[in-house]
Subunit: 722 residues, 2 copies
């Protein structure tokens, strides 16, 4: 149903304009005018009891009196009339509606109530609703301008293959103007508003099936249903249609104080960032990069790799491009011998033949140097992409320069991007490039960022099977604790599991933990210590004592029975003194593990996306340097490797400073196990923190030293000592 109605919404055969007005300053006035001006070819029915006729079209007093079936009702009435209009439209079998009116969930509690009613009505009558509180929808191919955005004052809509979904209406409309100034064509523009019914992911799904759309760009404030977004993002990869997102609200943090290290480290923006990376969604950081990147993905075929050849008439410009390329991890390789020979043959007396290739002012005397050099770069198999940098070329000559590039670009699949550093004097050439299939930029940085996105997306598509969600159920591990087992551990008044309880769960997922035992008297503890083998550590176990060190509830490096006895007595004394009323579950005796590199693996719960697996280096790195990675479970091995490699301190795991490479395979195994745990236990624990997890050199595996499981329900605060 949704699909069918979405088609009615986006390609309507008949439109009712409800609340139409003959005052062009009013929304209802503008909509009718724009619809007509931009040449909508279907039937238009203005609805307003005040008029008999408007702009030469007969006006109906209400929806019921429209003689034909209506695909879309454009609702431009004051908020207080919206619900009755919607009901009336429902009764008249209208398939879809665009509700422009504001005054709903964006206006606090009262507005939220109204939006809920709107939602109920829409569901009852099966109306697909865009909005409320939006600027509407514009179809560029079908000339269907169902919006009041003043952008529609333009004389002509430029159709293209980029769908533009904007959660911000005013900003989206403004950007459209700039986008079309640059001759970037659009298939549909959708302002999603409050997303009472249809949400961003629904539109994405529609455009994935739309033959007129090949790239989807989104100005995003947030996703309502994380699961739906994950599903359509996977579908987009399958179809090979890139999604480019500018996500605003970056600095808004997840907010709530969390009980674990992992929890305190994650704000919702980090989660979005991880989801985008994991699903091959291309995130841009600046508004202008949104349409420039989308346009580049629309114009260019895929690239083979990150190697870039630069042709320039300004040495300084070549250096700037190289700076940007290298700092984004791309290559500006030396030219191959055959290429150097060929370039020398073109009797070029320009300086030195290298990459970037500076044609210098020589190109003025010999303009053919230009296409010849590009051609030579195209033929060089060691270059995957070409950037051509142009400087001060005025008037007719700028057109000549542009046409050389456009002609030669048609002979190849290799991406050729252009940056032109000058201004109005070169406008004739710039306009030619804008109107061609050659991506054109006025900023070198934006040019390189767009190319970077192209390289990344090509890379992702090559191995898209690794990237897509694993649909198979997580591997079942026989030794895993049964639900009953977890329930047993879950008893008790504390809002967290004890370290020992937590490790029982970890061990059941095959994660190596310290050898240890929980004893209730010294004899038992002594026996355990000899089984474990000295040296050992001794820790008091009590849900009321979270910070054992501070009250002397922890002793390390105990080498024999005597030292153990002494430590036991001390800990008992300290606990009695500092926490006389604590509920003591016993004493934990634990092997002293040999030192290694400490890492953290954890699970948090995100309100939109559910459980997220987190990885980082030991405390300082995660807490102070905010150096951690996140992914959504179930993980594929590919995800786990990415999580390890994307942290800034990765070299510390890979043999920095002459150390041995650590057992990264063991970290991957553990991340996969935690991924299963995240899904199995997502309704039971709100946060899980394995910290520290000590990793040893290659082949040496790892070991969980401590862990924290925070229960999801029955969170009891005030029990712990902080």
């Amino acid at each position: 149903m949704l699909r069918q109605n979405l088609n009615a919404l986006l390609n309507p055969k008949s439109i009712a304009v409800i609340g139409v007005s003959n005052d062009p300053s009013r929304i209802g006035g503008r909509i009718l005018r724009y619809l007509k001006n931009h040449g909508y070819k279907g039937d238009i029915f203005p609805v307003n009891p005040k008029y008999k006729e408007i702009e030469g079209i007969r006006c109906c007093p209400d929806v019921a009196s429209i003689p034909l079936e209506i695909d879309v009702a454009l609702v431009a009435v004051p908020e207080k009339l919206v619900l009755s209009v919607l009901e009336e439209s429902g009764k008249a079998k209208v398939k879809a509606a665009v509700i422009y009116s504001s005054g709903f969930s964006e206006m606090g509690a009262e507005g939220k109530g109204k939006q809920l009613k709107l939602r109920q009505l829409a569901e009852e009558y099966r109306i697909s609703v865009c909005g409320p509180n939006c600027v509407g929808i514009i179809g560029f191919h079908n000339q269907t301008a169902m919006s009041f955005s003043q952008f529609l004052d333009v004389s002509k809509l430029i159709p293209g293959d980029i769908a533009f979904i904007s959660q911000s209406g005013a900003l989206g409309g403004a950007l459209l103007n700039r986008i079309q100034d640059r001759s970037i064509g659009i298939s549909h523009f959708v302002s999603t508003g409050n997303e009472a019914i249809l949400e961003t992911s629904d539109y994405i799904e529609y455009f994935l099936d739309d033959p007129k759309t090949s790239v989807i760009m989104i100005l995003m404030e947030g996703i309502r249903d994380g699961g739906k977004f994950l599903r359509v993002a996977d579908l987009a990869l399958k179809r090979g249609k890139p999604i480019v997102v500018m996500k605003v609200g970056k600095t808004e943090t997840g907010g709530k104080a969390a009980g674990s290290h992992t929890g305190s480290m994650t704000g919702s923006d980090a989660v979005y960032d991880a989801i985008f990376k994991q699903k091959g969604v291309i995130r841009v950081e600046e508004l202008e990069d949104l349409y420039l990147t989308a346009s580049t993905l629309s114009k260019c075929r895929l690239t083979n790799g990150p190697r870039v050849g630069i042709i320039t008439t300004t040495g300084g410009g070549g250096v700037i491009l190289s700076d940007e390329l290298v700092s984004m991890g791309m290559d500006v390789p030396d030219l191959s011998e055959p290429t150097i020979e060929k370039l020398k043959d073109t009797k070029a007396s320009f300086g030195i033949v290298k990459n970037p290739l500076d044609l210098t002012a020589q190109v003025v005397n010999d303009p053919l140097l230009f296409p010849k050099s590009i051609q030579t770069f195209i033929q060089d198999g060691h270059l995957d992409n070409i950037i051509v940098a142009l400087a001060m070329v005025a008037g007719e000559r700028s057109k000549e320069r542009a046409s050389y590039i456009i002609d030669v670009a048609q002979t190849t699949d290799k991406p050729i991007l252009t940056w032109w550093a000058s201004g109005s004097l070169s406008m004739p050439g710039m306009k030619m490039l804008e109107n061609s299939q050659v991506p054109f930029f006025s900023s070198p940085t934006r040019c390189v960022k767009a190319l970077h996105a192209l390289v990344r997306y090509a890379n992702i598509l090559k191995k898209k099977d690794d990237w897509m969600m694993c649909t198979a159920p997580a591997v079942v591990n026989e030794s895993r604790l049964s639900i009953k087992g977890v329930e047993r551990l879950y008893q008790g008044s504390s809002h967290v599991l004890t370290e020992h309880e937590g490790k029982e769960i970890l061990a059941s997922y095959g994660i190596p933990v310290t050898k240890e035992g929980l004893g209730s008297d010294f004899d038992e503890i002594k026996r355990m210590a000899s089984e474990i083998g000295y040296p050992v550590a001794l820790k008091v176990v009590s849900p009321e004592i979270l910070h054992k060190t501070e009250i002397g509830g922890l002793r390390l490096h105990l080498n024999d029975d005597n030292e153990l006895r002494k430590a036991y007595d001390e800990v008992i004394r300290n606990v009695k003194h500092h926490k006389p009323n604590a509920n003591i579950k016993g004493m934990l005796v634990q092997e002293m593990v040999s030192p290694g590199r400490e890492v953290i693996i954890g699970i948090i719960q995100d309100p939109q996306f559910g459980p997220m697996v987190m990885f980082g280096l030991g405390g300082i790195f995660v807490e102070v340097l905010k150096d951690f990675s996140l992914r959504h479970p179930p993980l594929k091995e590919n995800d786990a490797w990415e999580m390890i490699k994307e942290i800034k301190g990765y070299q510390l795991l890979d043999g920095a400073r002459g150390e041995k490479r650590l057992d990264q395979e063991a970290i991957v195994r553990t991340l996969m196990a935690v991924s299963s745990m995240a899904l199995d236990l997502k309704d039971v624990f709100s946060e899980i923190d394995i910290n520290p997890l000590v990793v040893y050199p290659e082949g040496g595996d790892l070991k969980a030293i401590d862990c924290l499981f925070v229960k999801k329900h029955e969170v009891r605060r005030g029990i712990a000592d902080d």
Copy 2:
């Protein structure tokens, strides 16, 4: 002399065009045409034996036959004629010359030789030379277009108060076109070329005295004379004329493999970055930010602080601005109660009154909301700056909107910046803003970056005395080693000092070092150990053994004479086994220091700027995370504090994770001591590395555990064991 001739160069009363041509495609042809077209008011003398007259002006066969004194010779002859023309000009008492011709130092060894001859001639005849290999100089106030850049095809030069110095000629010319498209006025444009005589710092110095220039912007590839740049940068702070720099060649690393941790970490870009920070030079990262930031500094008066009020008609735009502001460390504070009351009084029914203030579509019905809200923000003492974000406003209405902002901005010194998200439909309003004193941006990110530069510069000016170079000699420390003392340590064949020798120097500068002694037999060592107090460490000392641990030449945690004896015998045995021919200077017995936070302080030598002091956290942070700071000595305390605070891991020194704040004052003292050391010993050692330096909690001071002094001369390689 230089000053006088620079004035002749930049404000010439008479110009000779040598190598003039009647072919407008040739440099000599274009120059004459541009000079005339843009209305140069002084005397022009074309020089070329081929012509009698050109463009209606009498042509001289050579410089000698020009009847008047010439301020500037514009030299547009082939490279092989340049030297003779320069000599001829010298004999004719020409004061300055612009040499456009290429074929000098940019063309390898032969070209460098020619440039040296050019330099000798210029010095002999006292001619101030701009170039060679440049596109020339353009005076915008005096209409003196001495360039062949096609930018001069524009119909009109727009004068202003920004001087533009470009080391890249072609790129500079191209940018000029774009800059003037945006109505940004320029005082002078100088393409410096190969800087055979006049270099960037000379032009800066001139513009600091030029009443028509208030901001200097530089497209920089590198500085030849570091000391001169430091001096003029100080002068710029004194005059309150901001210098804005785009430095290209970022990813080019310092290159040479260095012997110490400090040395290996520093590339020349990090040095430039440090120099810019230290001297209050504003560095921008993208080309477009260069002129947008310069223009903002030219248009705005200084700001009082980092607090920003945002007024917007697009909610999404407000969020984007907030994101950028917060991520750059600025504030978007809550509105004060009086401001909220006033805004409510303006009977605004727009959503919620907060910062960012979203005027919503309401502003269409009540356009005065716009100036009223801005006025209210101006009156709010808790807001230092205002950003106004505009969305889709078309045609005449865009002019109305712009004029409101321009009018209200004239009533205040508070910076008001504007960002307009739409395109051509709003052009009338945009053009009004561009032509006004209100900074205007089409990118929200560039708007915030420019405001950030304004805030930072205002901050620097407030305490410019702290920022300027300390001209007083470094404080003399009586206990410092005499030159003779250093010379004594400097003897010997090794290219480094031993740890023990290095510490003698550190101690003489008042830097706490480990208690230790160098003994030659066990009895002596035992005596020293008891003086120092157990536990101690024992290390073999030999210039041939740099990596003591690997060959077992180091023993730690020795608790008594017995353990010391055992360790002594082991070390002797190990050294004999692994390094039988090593020259052993003795054994170092050293106190075991209590654990603390490890930091590194070092000195490197930069080819342009000389010694640089470096600070960072222990090895991993500097080597793997590249988290370190640099400054040029002599340091002021202000610099030392900045060095500490600008590292990413600063929180680790300031009580992160419930730890105590460390003795940062001790770090500052040590940085100041190292600053003196850097100047005293700059001709003696190429690198100094104090690593690790263990810092204790507040009041606990610090202690140097190890150090490395690499000698500057007589570097002997191949002695060390790696």
